[in-house]
Every structure is written in C-alpha cells, then in structure tokens.
Symmetry: C4
Subunit: 264 residues, 4 copies
C-alpha cells in the first residue's frame, strides 16, 4: 500500500513541470561544469567543480531511480529508447574518473550528459524523431553516393597511390581524400598534383564533383519533397474531414437520382 | 490651437513622399561621408566632411523631433521599436567624436546611421519583420545545433588541447574552430594535425560535418516550409471566401433534403 | 515592287529553320576561332584563322542587314533589345583589330559574339527573360544585403585599416574582403589576424557570416516562392476554366432556389 | 523441348529473390576484393584474392549467360540498356590483367563491376532513371552556363595568359581555373594575382561568381519545380479519379436542368 502511493507520487512527479525544470537546470549546470573544466582554473575552484560533479551524478542517479520506480509496468520502462539512453548515461558515469584506464570513457560520458537535454525537452525529442523518420527514405540516395565514393576511391588508390601515399595509400584514405574534394577544401592542390603525372586527371575530379553534387542535390530535394508531402497529406486529411469524404462524383450521382425522381 | 495645427502639419509631413525622399537622400549622403572618411583625403576635404557630418546630425535631430511632435499620442511614439531605434541612433550620435574615450562608440554610431535606411523604407522594414517572425519557429533547430557544437567542443577541448592550444585551448576557442570546420575552411589541416595523435579523429570530424550539415539543411527546409505554409493559408483563405465556407459535405446534405422533399 | 518581294523573301528567311541553323553554326565557328586563338598555333593556321575571322564578320554583317531589310516596319527593329544587341556587336566588330589602341575592345567584341547564341536560340532567350523578370522582386533583398556589406565594410575600414591595409585600406577594398569572407575563402586567416589586435573580432566576423547567409537564404527562398506562385497561378487558371468560375457558394445558392421551388 | 524447359527455368531464376541476393553478395565480395587490393597485403593473401577474382569473373559470366538464355526473345535482351551494360562489363573483364598494355583497362573494368549494384537493385535503377529523366529539362540551363564559362575563359586566356600561364594559358586551362573559382577554392589568390596587373579585374571575377551562382540556383530550382510538378500531377490525377472528371461547372449545368424540370 505504502509503496503504491509512493509509486503514484513518483509517477505524477514525472509530469511535474517544476521537476522537469529542475532536471533541465541540473543538465545546464553539468554543461557549465564541463565547459569550466576546459579552462585553466585555480585548484580551489577545481575542488568545487569536483564536488559539483559528484552532486550532479547523484542527482541524475536519484532522478532515474524515481523515474523507474514511478513506472507502473517496469518492463515497459526500457522499451522507451530515451529511458534506456538516460539509464546508460547515468550508470556509466558512476565509473570513477581517477582510474586512468577508463578515465577517457568517464570524461566522454560526462560530456554526453549534455545530450540528456534532448531526452528531457519534448520539442527536441520530436525534432530528432522527425529527422530519424526522414532517414530511411534517403537510404538509397546515400547508398548510391557510397557506391560513387567507393568506385572513385578504388580508381584513386589504384592509380594515384605512388604520387602521394598520404592521400591515396589505400581505399579508406582515398575515400577521406574524396570527401575533402567534395567539400572543395584545397581540392585543386590534390588535382594539380595528380595532373602532373596523369594529364587528364581533371576528368576524374570534375566528374566526381558533378556526380556527388548531383547526388547531394537529390538528397536535399528528397528531404524537401518528403516534408512537403507530409504537409500536403495533413492538409488533404483536414479537407477530407470538412468534406466528409464526399467527392464531386458523389454529388453528380445524387443529382442524377433527383432528376430521375422529377422525371417520374 | 497653434500647437495643434503645427502637430497636424508635422503629422502629415511624416506621410509626405518628398519628406521621405529627403530623409533617404540625407541617409545616403551620411553613408557616402562614412565611406569617404575611409579613404586618405586632403585636409580641406576633411573639413568639409566634418561640416557635413554636423549638418547630417542636426538634420536627423530635427527630423526625429518633428516626428515626435507630429505624434498625437506621445506615449505611443516609443512603443514603435523603429522610433526607439531612430531616437537612440540620433541621441548617441550627439556625443562629440573628439573625446578619445567615446570616439570609438561615436564612430560606430555614425556608421549605424546607415541602418536608418531600413527604418525609413517601408519595404525593407517589412522584409526585416518577416525575417524576425520566422525566427522563433527555428529556435529549437538552433538550440539543437548549439548542443551539437557544445558537446563536440567539450570533446575537442578535453582531448586535443595539448595538440594545438591555439585551436582547442578551451571550450569557446574550440567552438570557433568547429565553426571554421563547418564552413569547410581549411578543415583538413585541423583534422590531419589531430589525426597524427588520434588516428581515428576523422570519425569526430566527419560525424560533426554530417550532423551540422543535416541540422543546417533542416533549418533551411524549416524556413521554406514556413514560407510555403503562409502562402497556402493565404490561398485557402481566398478560396474559403469564394466558396463562402461551403464544403462538399454541406452540399450533400442539401441534396438529401431536396430528395426528401421530392419523395414526400 | 521588286524591293517588296525582296523584303517578303528576307522576312520569311528569318523564320527559316535552315537559316537559323546556319547562323548558329557560324556562331559556333566563331567561338571555335576565339578558342583556337588562345592556343599557341602555327603562323599558317593563324592566317587561316584571320581569314575565318573576316568571313564571320562579313557573314554577321550580311545577316543583320537581311534581318533589318526583312523588317516591314523599320522603326520597330530597334525596339527589340535583342536586335539592338546584335547590331551593336556586329558594328563594333568592324573596328580593325590591328589598331593597338582599340585592339582590346575589338578582341572583347569578338568574344562577345558568342553571346549572339543567346539572342538566336529562342529557348535561351526565354530563359534569360524569365531570369530578368525575377530580378525586381529580389531588389529589396539585394538592397538589404548591400546595406549589411556597407556597414560592415565601414566598421572594418575604420578599425582594421592599420592591421592589414591590403585588406581593409578603404571601404571598397573592405567590401571585397567581406565578399571573400562570405564565400568562406580563407576567412579564418583574415579573422585570426584581426583577433590578435581586437580579441572580440570574432563577433564581427560571425555576425557578418550569419547575416549574409540569412539574407542569401532569403533570396533563394524568394526565387523559389516566386517560381512556385507562377506555377500555382497557372494551375488555378486552368482549374477556373474547367469549373467555369463556379464556386461551391454558387452551387449552394442554386440548391436553395431549387428547394424554394419545391416548397412552393 | 528440353531447351524450352531449361529456358523457362532460367527465366524464373531471374525473378528469384535468392538468386538476386546471391548476385548482390558476389558484387559486394568483388567490391571487397577491389578494396583489399589497395592495401599492402601478404603474398599468400594476394594469391587468394587472385583466385577470388577469377571465381567472380566466372560467376558473372555464368550469371549473364543464364540471363541471356532465360530471355524468351533473344533480340529484346540487348534492347534493355542495363543488360547491355552488364554484358560489356562482364566481357571486357575477361581480358587478362597480366598483359601490361591492357592492364589499365582490365583494372578499371574490375572496379566498374561494383556499378553492377545499380543494375541489379531495382530501387537504385529507378533512382538513376528518374535522375536521367530530369536531365533534358536542365539542358538549356547547362548550355547557358557553358556559354558563360566559354566567354569568361576566352577573356581570361586573352588577357591574363602572360600573368600566370599555368592558370590562363589557353581556353581549356582557363575553364578549369574558372571552375575552381566557382567552387570558391583559393579564388582570391587567383584574383589578387591578376589585380596586380589589371586593377579592375575584380569586376571580372565578381560578375563571373554572380552569374554562375545565379545559373546554378536556377538549375536547382528547375529540378525542384520539376519534381514538385510531378508530385502535383500525380495528386491531380488521383483527385480526378475520385471526382470522376466532374467539375463544378458540370454540376451547375445539372442543377440548371433540374430547375427547368421543376419549372415545367
């Protein structure tokens, strides 16, 4: 009985705006602590930051515990990927930072705590969900782009490896170089170097730029059309509700029936 | 009585096209004066420019006074942010430039006088208003982008600070470096330097570029959809007026009633 | 009588597809001649190119004369800006190239003859016309962008001139530097140099990049919306024709009248 | 009889999902083999890769033979450009790589085998087809862009050739330099060098950037509008089917007839 009322209390706590605001504030504080650590600060302040760090870890541990205890059906808690994400972040941040072996991961996890902002603010969660939803539709364009990259990288690694090994040594380094060419970052330096050996190498670079630009444009247009269609379908639904799914064809049949009645 | 007619006169002056044109001309003149000052000019011409400067300041002071006196309800004058903006620009430009302490602000204010162009030309005011209106809707995308920047900058400042302090010293300098990476400005130099210590640093840079490009694309699409929706809603309103808010469903009910009448 | 039939003949020549094709071929030939001249070629070939040049000039002179003589109303000939453009190109290309004083203009005019491609191919003429039509609507965005550039250039020329005169000497050189910053071309070099003197100069550069990117985006969206609206209005017109300007409201009134007739 | 049943069997094989999956797997394997070759690998592994290479070639040869034999009407097989593409890739890859004369082509063909991914996955084939369909509509914009490039390259090669022959030597090298300027890759270096001789050369570069950006924007907008129109026409067709090609005008005429019947 006592546990049940506790659970109900904790469940209502989750929907409490003040509680949400407190969590957001603590996340912001943890972000500031992370930022502060990157500056060269006095040892006294460093100690304070250390204590703050522990306090934030404890607060997050308590918060996630409350959340879990407030859940009526425990097994559903981890079905929500955001809850899973929160729990992992909190649990891993319990690893002591002093241990030099795991210090790296510990520090990274502390930084990733800022990402909890996304899991706590509903609007950001919505935004990210809609981004992820747009992804599968773009899958084939991304696959096509990867094929283009792979083929060009294979050609590059086969023919240009001797010219400049640091750029064309193997297929993975060549792909990185091609990504650089795609962003137009000193791409002419890369091209001119190759052109000294293969005079027609500009065909390779220009065709690559054209193909990737074209594929990228297609990806952008894919997203735009996707977003537009969602808008249109929403609109059409609203219209369909207003019209009660009546089409002009329905009306014409009605009129034909009326005419028949009149002619009788 | 006399003051009232003066006020009416000044009020009508505000709407006068010739007056507006004069103000625009003076603003253009002030812009030219600012431009001329940046060239190495003869002392004689410098004196002329100085006198022009004073004349422009006096003209703007008179203009804003006329505007204020022409306003029937004085308290409403500063409710308009453009009036407030104009007044601040004019008042602060009265500060004598010779005073070396405030000379910097004085010079800046003289330059900002060109911005009065926006407050005087209605089309530019409209354009800026519509830009500002689009802003709040983009707020969450900008927040998401800031979170991405903050996390990557924290990681950068934590791990790369020793490699090149001038780029990764603390979180604010790291954010500036990441902005540079986002604009593709010599980003490979930054990456190759880091990759000499951390071989897998390309994951950091490539994932950052993908995330920010994706977020930026979303912002652009957000603006486009926003603009499109405004257009559509205008269109739908025009259609609704033509249709008198009649839907096909309404028509079907009318036809059902007619049928009932006929069957009686 | 004979002149009249000649005129009719020449007029029909203008619409002749074969004649158009010949002109296009000659323009292409002139483009090839221009291109060939930029290579180091043998003197024999040079002489041939020289003769070709003269032949092309004569051909264009004849063509424009035929066109003019074929026009029934002479005064309307120069009303068409494309005819005016063609005539100027042809007349100025009569200037002898050997004269070193005018050689520069002569060579340029020979190059601009390639532009006659646009005036002869109807699709290109249409494309250019539609581009020019979109321009006035973008005027205010371009004006806003110019104001942003001018203000930032004035600030730059006032404060950074001593740091690097070659980049910030006066307002026009500063505007060129800012255009370079807008294209992200080594903009960090420009910024870091200034930041050594003014630590907060990144505010200047980042705000400039944000403002111009935003204004540029607006220009793009302006063009897109413009194009879309043209498409929509075409569509709506087609729909209005199909519906005979009948709205749902009209139909409702018809139904009300029928009801009244039945209730009589 | 036996051949017929074999043909039917091979024809059904083509539509078999498992067979398709096997082909995709072999293509992926061939891609991995190509990638592996670019790394410095042990001789033992090299031999394995060599055998894999032969196995893949044989598999592709068998696959294309099955495909051809499965086709009921042989002459229709090569009407499909994808089949032609596949056949060429497979036949040319039979050329022995050891022959140093043809080794280059042999290696390239082995890399192009990855492109068979596009011919085997229907979604990628669809994507590429839709890209190619959008092309002709963009033809005139590309032609206009080429004219702009050609004229500017002619001017560049005529006037700047002595300043820096490696950038402006002849019209083709000038076009490559202008493409570099269009991608904003160290374009100011190119411009500042020219400006030392021709002070007003910035007009040349800035006008070129404006024109190409404008033409590029038009191309993008062209694609977007094209895509949108396809979406709209699909939508309108769906609507037309629902309405049975009935317009409001039709309904009005029906109502007029009913009225006439009532007034009788």
């Amino acid at each position: 009985m006592r546990y049940d009322s506790l659970q109900t209390g904790l469940y209502s706590l989750r929907a409490n705006k003040l509680f949400e605001l407190t969590v957001v504030s603590v996340i912001l504080l943890s972000a500031l602590v992370i930022g502060a650590k990157t500056y060269s600060i006095s040892p006294t302040f460093m100690v304070l930051v250390g204590w703050l760090d522990i306090a934030i870890t404890v607060f997050f541990l308590l918060e996630i515990s409350f959340r879990f205890m407030g859940e009526p059906r425990k097994w559903r808690f981890f079905n929500n990927p955001w809850n899973l994400f929160d729990t992992i972040i909190v649990v891993v941040s319990l690893i002591p930072v002093e241990d030099s072996e795991l210090a790296l991961i510990g520090r990274l996890i502390r930084i990733f705590r800022v990402l909890r902002m996304v899991s706590i603010v509903p609007e950001l969660r919505l935004l990210l969900n809609s981004l992820l939803k747009a992804m599968p539709q773009l899958g084939y364009v991304i696959l096509l782009m990867f094929i283009i990259f792979y083929i060009y990288a294979a050609v590059g690694a086969s023919f240009f490896a001797e010219i400049n090994p640091s750029l064309w040594q193997d297929i993975s380094i060549s792909m990185l170089t091609l990504f650089r060419v795609m962003t137009f970052e000193d791409w002419t330096d890369v091209m001119y170097e190759v052109m000294e050996v293969y005079g027609y190498a500009w065909v390779y670079f220009l065709s690559f730029i054209f193909l990737t630009t074209f594929a990228f444009l297609n990806m952008v247009i894919g997203i735009v059309v996707n977003v537009m269609e969602n808008e249109h379908s929403k609109e059409r639904e609203a219209e369909a509700i207003a019209n009660g799914d009546v089409t002009l064809d329905d009306l014409k049949q009605e009129l034909a029936e009326i005419k028949a009645l009149l002619r009788k």
